[in-house]
Amino acid sequence: MAVTRPRIVAFLCNWCSYAGADLAGTTRIKYRADVRVIRVPCSGRVDPAFILKAFETGADAVLVGGCHPGDCHYVRGNLNARRRFLVLRHLLRYMGIEEERFQVAWCSAAEGAKWARLVNEVCEIAEKLGPLKGFKSIAGELATPEKEITLSGE
Amino acid sequence: MPGNAANSEDLIPQLATVVAVRQETPDIRSLRLGFESPEAREAFAFRPGQFCLVSALGIGEAVFCISSPPAWKDAIEVSVKQVGKVTAAIHDLEVGDRVGLRGPYGNWFPYEAMLGRNVVFVGGGIGLAPLRPLIWQTLSERTKFKDVHIVYGARTVRDLVYTDDLAEWAKVPGVRLVRTVDPGGEDATWNGEVGLVPAVLEKTKPSSDGVLVVCGPPIMIKFALLAATRLGFDPKDVITTLEMKMKCGVGLCGRCNIGSRYVCRDGPVFTLKEMQALPDEF
């Protein structure tokens, strides 16, 4: 069966979520393979331009993983970012992009299982919403061709 | 409207292949660019002083002087200092990669007018690149000139470019080569001068009865021109090649002007006399 898989981009804090994703791997927890992880030093490093670029270049959903409040390696990076992310969700909605396509989660280095669950959940959200058409429609010649992945046994 | 094909410009580069890469300094690389066919190289007829535009496809296009002499028939060379987006992408290229190439554009050094005279070449940093083809051409016909004097310097020993060429030039009879590095840029093995290029030029006291060709960073050019004036050179015998931001290379895009002269179209080679008539905006 040929299906179009969702494309998820995840920006993960080096000190927590990235290690959490690592833990999920080393403990062999299975989760969807549709996520592309980008490691960042802190969720506070995630500039709205990153999210825009991800959507612009073909992401169907974006997930940011940061430290739980109080755990930030830089004390307040995650909290300052939280304000930004709230506003960004409003902007996405106002522009006509479902805000659910942009997800933020606090996920510690110990929460490998949570990471696996998050990925699966965000994949489901993206599948439910379908491919993000807006940006593809304006990319014109530069639109990334949809890669159809043929899966067997699923 | 009938167009003169030769002068009609559609801004589309041809493809060229990187055939060799040489790391000159920590931030300068020279790329040798080969053509699709011998005919394409033949068609790319240029003279020392002219420039070309090299594209890293998908990143952008930037202007470089052609740093190899026309006599090299197989390929051309450009030397690229990593300073921005396009030059960084060009630095990432490897042998076998392809680039876009457009040119040659601009005017050239007045080689014929230099024949039979004393010649002084003054270069700073990567500013030796446009002089290099001219120096090779001059030395290949060494007997047609009187004294040949080369003053070349860089910030530090590590920043000197074309060190093999410099060694070759020094061996040519009747060539006086003075190398220098900025104060603090010397190392334990350095046997050249220490001092800024314009100062070293003045110290070496070349005969002012000749042609002086200078290229380097903008600030060095300014001081070297002052030095040349103090040494008594006639402004029409002092020649430099200027750099301004360029996009089209052919005088259409409107950004490389100094006064009403376009560096791409009326330059890049100017005499000091011509520059004295231009506003101070370069």
Binding site: P48, A49, L52, K53, E56, P69, R76, L79, N80, R82, R83, R84, F85, L86, V87, L88, R89, H90, L91, R93, Y94, M95, G96, I97, E98, Q103, V104, A105, W106, L118, E121, G134, S137, I138, A139, G140, L142 | G84, K85, A88
Partner: protein
């Protein structure tokens, strides 16, 4: 707006310049062919050329972060500025964000009851003037005008917003792409914005190139999207961007929408108090977090 306010203004500016309290006053002068334009008042006698009327739409605060004002302020001098309530909020923003020292500006606040339709290029009555809360500037060294005489304008300042909110996601996307496909990327909105003072704009950055340079819809949307984020919680709604746009795009819609959401969620309003910390450089433990997984 009474002409005695104009007379008082001239008097005030003349006095400030004559006594050397300020080196320059940014004010409004007559524009050829009607309307007003910024007037750089340097000599006491120039004060006679100042005007104050309901055409005075331009927000002059943007000049504070440019030459010659910057040079004057860096040299320890002071710059005077004629400012309506909305304009003063921009100055407050600049003080909050440490672009301008409070003591380096002399704010001549004017009580304003709204800009006229067609005032200096604005097509209709600026929506900022409908239900304006800032007839009296929140900060001033001198205040000219009669607070009591202000008559609020009737009208729905949020009409556009309600219309957009009422659309489906699909319709909204269509709406914005149609609107921004008109953008010619002249950057008049950015240059006119008193709070777009970055020495190097993200549009000029090339490594990486966050925003496509071209004025294709791709490049335009990226530009307006990022600019809206940069102004969220900072935009004081002066509508200079809308007024400056040569192709009639209401550029302020996005940033004002976001600033209202900031107010709802955090109770923060930009430009009301120079002592307040800017919204995006701080945070609270109990900030809303119900969207976080």
């Amino acid at each position: 707006m009474a002409s005695d306010a104009e007379a008082q203004l001239r008097e005030k500016v003349k006095d400030l310049l004559a006594r050397g309290k300020v080196k320059l006053v940014l004010g409004y002068g007559k524009r050829s062919g009607g309307g007003v334009r910024p007037l750089f008042t340097k000599l006491p006698d120039d004060a006679e050329r100042l005007v104050w009327n309901d055409q005075c739409a331009p927000n002059l605060a943007g000049y504070l972060t440019r030459e010659p004002c910057l040079g004057i302020m860096h040299g320890g001098g002071r710059v005077g500025i004629v400012a309506k309530g909305c304009d003063v909020r921009a100055i407050v923003g600049l003080v909050q964000e440490k672009q301008v020292k409070r003591e380096a500006v002399h704010v001549i606040g004017l009580v304003c009851d709204g800009i006229a339709a067609g005032g200096s290029g604005a097509a209709g009555v600026p929506s900022k003037c409908l239900e304006c809360e800032w007839h009296t500037p929140p900060m001033a060294d001198d205040l000219i005008g009669d607070k009591a005489a202000v008559a609020p304008r009737a009208g729905d300042a949020l009409a556009d917003d309600k219309r957009i909110e009422g659309m489906t996601d699909e319709e909204r996307w269509q709406f914005w792409t149609a609107l921004f496909s008109r953008c010619i990327k002249c950057y008049a909105c950015r240059q006119a914005c008193p709070l777009c003072y970055c020495k190097e704009c993200i549009t000029e950055k090339s490594r990486p190139q966050w925003i496509a340079k071209s004025s294709t819809i791709r490049g335009n949307l990226a530009y307006h999207f990022i600019r809206a984020m940069h102004l969220a919680g900072r935009c004081i709604g002066c509508e200079e961007c809308r007024r400056a746009c040569p192709v009639g795009i209401p550029v302020d819609l996005l940033s004002r929408f976001l600033t209202r959401r900031v107010e709802e969620a955090f109770g923060y309003k930009p430009g009301r108090d120079p002592a307040e910390e800017p919204f995006f450089v701080t945070s609270k433990e109990n900030d809303p977090d119900d969207f976080i997984r």
